[in-house]
C-alpha cells in the first residue's frame, strides 16, 4: 500500500531529499565546500541514470515513499527534508540500517550504494581517502 502510494509520488523532484541524505551519509567524507555536496548529488543522478529501467522503477518507488508526506513521516520519521536536522536524518538512516524488516534494510542499502557511488567515483573524493587516482601509463 505504502509502496503503491510511493509509486505515485515518484515523479516529484527528489534532489532536496538526496541532498539531505547525502549530507549526512557523507559526514566526515565531504570537504568543507558547497560544491562537494553538489558533486555528490549529481553523482547520484548519474548513478541512477545508468541503471536498467526495472531497477530505476524500484528506486522511483523508494524515493516516492520518502517524499510522500504521510509515508515519509510514518516510515522515516522525517517531517520535511528541508527542515530535518542531521540528527533526524542519521536516526532515520540508522533505524533502516538496523531494522528487523529486510525491506527497510534493503531501502537503506540502495541509498547507501547510490550515495557512495555518486561521491567516491569523483576525483574530489580521493584526497581524503589517500587514493592517488589511476596511474599514468608509461
Amino acid at each position: 500500500m505504502l509502496l503503491a502510494l510511493g509509486g505515485c509520488a515518484a515523479a516529484g523532484n527528489h534532489r532536496e531529499m538526496v541532498r539531505a541524505i547525502a549530507r549526512v551519509m557523507l559526514q566526515g567524507a565531504l570537504p568543507n565546500d558547497r560544491d562537494a555536496l553538489d558533486t555528490a548529488v549529481r553523482g547520484v543522478d548519474v548513478a541512477i541514470a545508468g541503471l536498467p529501467p526495472a531497477v530505476q522503477g524500484e528506486i522511483g518507488q523508494l524515493f516516492g515513499l520518502l517524499e510522500f508526506p504521510l509515508s515519509r513521516r510514518l516510515m522515516a520519521g522525517i517531517g520535511s527534508w528541508q527542515t530535518a536536522s542531521d540528527a533526524d536524518i542519521a536516526a532515520f538512516l540508522q533505524s533502516w540500517r538496523t531494522s528487523n524488516a529486510a525491506l527497510l534494510r534493503s531501502g537503506y542499502a540502495a541509498l547507501h550504494q547510490l550515495v557512495m557511488a555518486g561521491w567516491y567515483g569523483n576525483e574530489a573524493a580521493w584526497a581524503r581517502i589517500g587514493y592517488p587516482g589511476p596511474p599514468r601509463i608509461v
Partner: protein
C-alpha cells in the same frame, strides 16, 4: 601510444554494427548465431569461423576497447557491467558483478585462470552422468585455451594485498599458491576490472572475437536477444531488439537472425532467461534452476604499513586450504583470494555511514582485504538459486541463502581474520553492518559468533554466476546434454557458464573456455561444410 586492436579492425572493415544506430528493422542469415560474446561466445566464434562457418554474434552491451578504458570506476561500471555493477538477487541479499560488453565478463574480470578442480569433475561424473568430463579428457582442451590466451602463473612479485594473504596464511601453516593469469606483457597496473587499458589481458575482446571478425563474422552490439522462435523441435529464428543510445531501453527496431544452429552464450542468468522468454520446452522444470554464485564474504584489515590495494595485479595469490578441510559434500568449503581496492567498490561494500564510514575509508591505503568464495551446489542444502523474469522480461535471480551457507560465512570470516592478524593487522573488520573493528583473533571469533547472519546485514557478493542450464545425461535433472545441446531442441546449444551443474570451486573463466572449446569443435564438425550462398 597503446595500439587498439578494435579500432584497427574497424578500419580494416570488420562487419561490426551498433544496433542503437539502426534506422530500420534488419534481417541477417548465418550458419550459426551466437548469443553473447563472453568466455563462451568468444571461444565458439573463433572455432566456428575457423571451420569456415558463417557466424553472427549478438551482444547486449556496447563495443568498447582500450581507447575507452580510462581506469575510472564511474565510467566502467555503468558501461561494462550488468546493472552498473550493482545487480542484486531478488531479496537484495547478494550483489553480483557480471560483465555486459563485447567480451562479456572477460573484458572486466581479474584474470584468474584455473582449470576445473578434479573433485568437481568427479562429482559431475558421479551425479550428472557426464562420463567424458574427466580431468584427462579435458586436459588437452584446457591446454589449448591456456596457450591461446597466454595463461601462466603470475611471474612478478604479488602486490602487497596479495602478499599479505600469503604471509598470514603461511605463518599459520596454511598453504597458498600463485594464480595463473591470462595476460601478455602486463603493465601490473591493477585496473583489470575497468577494462584493460593496455590490451595485456587476453580477454575475448582482444583475442577470439577479433579473429572471428577477421574471418568475416558479423558482430551486432547493443542488441538484446528477446526470444527464439521454434518450428517443432528446432529453432528457426532469433528475434532481437535494438537498444537506444543509453543502451538500457529497447529501441524501435527489430533484428531477425535466421540460422541453422543457435548457440546461447549469454552467461548464467541471461541464458536461461532467453530460453524462459522463448517458452522453450522444459518438461521437468529444470530451466533456470540450480544457479550458483560462489557466495562471497569479505574481511577488511588495517595494516601498519601501506598496502595500496588499488595498485598491481589484483589477484595473484590464493589458498584452497579451506576447500579441502571438509568433504566436498560436507560443510561448505571456500577459496581464499583478495579483491582489488578501488574507491567506489570499497565505499559501496563497507558498512555504516557518516563519520565511522569516512574514518574507515580514510585508511584506504592501509587496508588489506580478503574474500572467501564459497563452493555452492554440492549439498542438499545448497541447491542454489532460480532465474525468473520480471514483468518487463528482464531476468531476476532468486537465491535464498540457506543456514548451510551462513555457517560457511561464519567460518570463513573467522579464517580470514585469523590470517590477517597473523599477517600483522592492527584491526580487522568483518564486512557486516553490525560489526565493529576488533584487535585480536579471539575478539574476532566472539564477534563473528554473535553477528546475526541475515541478508542485507552481512555483506555477500558474487563475481561468478554459474548454472541454470545445467549439463547432464538425464533430462529430468538437467537442461542440456554433455555436448551442450538442449535436451529437447535439436539445433540449440548452450556454451557458457550457465551449463555448469554445480559451482566450479574456482574462478570459472578457464572452465568455460576449455569445455566450450571441446563442444564448439564438435559442433563445427556436425554443422559441416558451410551452405553455399
Amino acid at each position: 601510444m597503446i595500439a587498439d586492436p578494435i579500432a584497427q579492425g574497424l578500419l580494416r572493415g570488420w562487419k561490426a554494427y551498433d544496433a542503437s544506430t539502426f534506422d530500420r528493422d534488419r534481417t541477417f542469415d548465418a550458419d550459426v548465431v551466437i548469443i553473447g560474446t563472453g568466455a563462451g561466445g568468444g571461444t565458439t566464434a573463433e572455432i566456428l569461423t575457423d571451420a569456415g562457418l558463417s557466424v553472427v554474434l549478438i551482444e547486449e552491451g556496447p563495443l568498447r576497447s582500450s581507447r575507452d578504458f580510462h581506469m575510472l570506476e564511474r565510467e566502467a561500471y555503468p558501461q561494462l557491467y550488468q546493472e552498473s555493477a550493482g545487480r542484486r538477487t531478488k531479496d537484495k541479499g547478494i550483489v553480483i558483478l557480471q560483465g555486459r560488453a563485447v567480451g562479456g565478463s572477460t573484458t572486466v574480470n581479474w584474470t584468474s585462470s584455473f582449470r576445473t578442480p578434479p573433485q568437481t569433475l568427479d562429482y559431475w561424473r558421479e551425479h550428472f552422468g557426464l562420463a567424458d568430463y574427466s580431468e584427462n579428457a579435458l586436459a588437452p582442451w584446457f591446454e589449448r585455451m591456456e596457450h591461446r590466451l597466454s595463461v601462466h602463473p603470475w611471474d612478478e612479485p604479488p602486490n602487497e594485498n596479495n602478499a599479505l594473504l600469503a604471509r598470514g596464511a603461511n605463518k599459520l601453516g596454511i598453504p597458498t599458491a600463485i594464480i595463473p593469469r591470462n595476460v601478455k606483457g602486463c603493465y601490473n597496473l591493477g585496473y583489470c576490472g575497468m577494462g584493460c587499458p593496455t590490451n595485456a589481458k587476453q580477454s575475448m575482446l582482444v583475442t577470439t572475437i577479433p579473429a572471428a571478425l577477421d574471418r568475416g563474422a558479423i558482430l551486432i552490439s547493443r542488441a538484446r536477444a528477446q526470444h527464439l522462435a521454434f518450428a517443432g523441435d528446432r529453432a528457426d529464428t532469433l528475434q532481437c531488439a535494438s537498444l537506444d543510445a543509453s543502451g538500457l531501453q529497447p529501441g524501435p527496431h527489430t533484428i531477425t537472425i535466421r540460422a541453422r544452429t543457435f548457440v546461447i552464450a549469454g552467461g548464467a542468468i541471461n541464458s536461461p532467461a532467453l530460453l524462459l522468454r522463448s517458452n522453450a520446452p522444459d518438461p521437468y522444470g529444470t530451466l533456470g534452476k540450480r544457479t550458483f554464485l560462489h557466495p562471497t564474504v569479505i574481511s577488511a584489515a588495517t595494516m601498519p604499513e601501506v598496502v595500496a590495494g588499488y595498485s598491481g595485479a589484483p589477484q595473484s595469490i590464493y589458498s584452497d586450504h579451506f576447500l579441502h578441510t571438509n568433504a566436498l559434500d560436507g560443510a561448505i568449503g571456500y577459496k581464499l583470494e583478495v579483491p582489488p581496492l578501488h574507491p567506489v567498490l570499497l565505499a559501496t561494500t563497507t558498512p555504516g555511514f557518516g563519520v565511522p564510514s569516512a574514518k574507515l575509508l580514510a585508511r584506504m591505503p592501509h587496508l588489506q582485504v580478503i574474500i572467501a568464495l564459497m563452493r555452492d551446489g554440492f549439498h542438499p542444502q545448497s541447491t542454489g538459486g532460480s532465474v525468473g523474469l520480471r514483468d518487463d522480461g528482464t531476468p531476476l535471480l532468486d537465491y535464498p541463502i540457506t543456514p548451510y551457507v551462513w555457517d560457511g560465512a561464519r567460518r570463513a570470516l573467522k579464517s580470514m581474520a585469523q590470517i590477517q592478524f597473523a599477517a600483522g593487522a592492527t584491526s580487522v573488520l568483518p564486512i557486516h553492518e553490525a560489526a565493529q573493528p576488533v584487535t585480536s583473533f579471539e575478539e574476532a571469533e566472539r564477534l563473528v559468533d554473535a553477528l546475526p547472519m541475515e541478508i542485507v546485514r552481512a555483506s555477500v557478493v558474487s563475481a561468478h554466476v554459474m548454472g541454470g542450464c545445467g549439463l547432464g545425461a538425464d533430462p529430468r535433472s538437467s537442461v542440456i546434454d554433455g555436448t551442450g545441446r538442449h535436451h529437447h531442441l535439436e539445433n540449440v546449444y548452450v556454451f557458457d557458464g550457465s551449463a555448469f551443474p554445480t559451482s566450479i570451486g574456482a574462478n570459472p573463466q578457464l572452465s568455460i573456455y576449455g569445455m566450450v572449446a571441446r563442444n564448439a569443435s564438435r559442433l563445427a564438425g556436425l554443422v559441416g561444410a558451410p551452405a553455399k550462398r
